[in-house]
């Protein structure tokens, strides 16, 4: 059986520093995995590796069938949704314009943007500039961007940061949605209790090594 995420003895270097070393990780379809780790453990680097945005220094691995480090990751990328620590919004554009920009590039209908903004509780703030919105609102918009794209692999970096209880439910809904579509999710956080709420299997990343 092939796994959407399959890493074998992967190491990642940033400059001269080895951030991840000897990493083995398999994530099955329909599974959600939580990875806990302290600051500097390599959580964000792991997610960027899984998003095919950085290349491994050694080891072998594949994500959604694309071999990590190869040039054929383009097709897989369209099915990967990454919620980074910082929101991928343009401060000068409104929340609606931000989502609309991504929707047009992804070939999604314009009407979906209004639906999603209403769905995440930001329908009335749709025309507020992102630069004037709170961190929690921007986080919601970023979550809406993932919902818009309907990815097969969802990667969430400290998703609960800056979110209220209502918005936290959106994360659970997003993970449930991707699992229902036979996709999978990897969530990283320093908060073990919150990981327990949204993921099925949990691992610990300690200075670049999964334990």
């Amino acid at each position: 059986m092939t796994h959407p995420v399959d890493l074998v003895d992967i190491s990642v270097r940033v400059g001269r520093t080895e951030i991840l070393r000897g990493l083995d990780l398999k994530v099955a379809s329909g599974e959600s995995v939580g990875i806990e780790g302290a600051n500097g453990a390599g959580k964000t680097t792991l997610l960027r590796l899984l998003a095919t945005l950085i290349r491994p220094a050694s080891g072998a691995g594949s994500v959604l069938g694309a071999r990590l480090g190869s040039d054929d990751v383009g097709a897989a990328r369209a099915h990967i949704g990454l919620l980074a620590h910082e929101p991928a919004v343009y401060p000068e554009l409104t929340l609606h314009e931000n989502l609309g920009f991504y929707a047009r590039l992804a070939g999604r209908p314009a009407g979906r943007v209004d639906e999603l903004l209403d769905g995440i509780g930001l329908g009335r703030a749709a025309h507020r500039r992102a630069g004037d919105a709170s961190q929690g609102m921007l986080r919601r918009v970023d979550l809406a961007r993932l919902l818009l794209l309907e990815p097969t692999l969802v990667l969430l970096d400290e998703p609960h940061a800056g979110l209220d209880t209502d918005a936290e439910k959106l994360i659970a809904a997003l993970i449930a949605d991707v699992r229902a579509r036979n996709g999978c999710a990897v969530v990283v956080s320093h908060d073990a209790a919150r990981l327990r709420d949204v993921t099925g299997r949990r691992l610990r990343l300690d200075l670049g090594t999964l334990v």
């Binding site: 990454l82 991504y102 590039l105």
Partner: protein, 223 residues
Amino acid sequence: MTAWTVAAEIARKDLRVELRSGEVLWITIPFGVVALFLVPLALPLDNPLLARVGSPMYWVVLLLFGMTIALRGSAVPTEPQRDALRLLGVDPAARFAGRVAATSMLLWAFQIVLAPATFVLYQTPLPPSWGLLIPVGLGVGLGLAVVGTIAADVTRGLRSRTALAPLLVAPLSAPLLVAAAQASESLANGDSILLPALIIAFTVLGLAVVGVLTAGPLEESAQ
């Protein structure tokens, strides 16, 4: 979406961001016009030299302040913004073209403000076939935009970016500056501008090919 529609979407977004931030419109362009004032202030108003240096000053100010426009902060995406576009599968070459298109439009707008200011401040006489200066200006604006976008990508993430990027732009855009000044001089003397026009065209074309070909590798080299 085709590469052209992606480029148009990126350009539209970049222009909207710029119009709202006002970085170019309200800061760089007025300062560029102020820079043009400096030489007339240093020379007596009836000095015939003033009319002669008007055209070269126009190109020098365009190059110096155009560099600031091409390297403006809002033209360089943040890491999450860039990652989001990479994951959408947006063609790096199309993104490059979109960014160049937006910057070119800003540089052309800068020239529209700068040109009448030069004629008024320097009393530079209009050459009979002044219309030929329009394609020269368009070419120089496009070339500066291409060079600036390449330099921004090459220096992305470097600590010395603010110092290094202009050092890359200045020599690469030197042929544009020299050819543009030569074209103005030739027009004023009633000579042909074929050679400087060809230099500008080939410089822009060469830089554009380099920019398109390196857009993908430069994006993928980001860690």
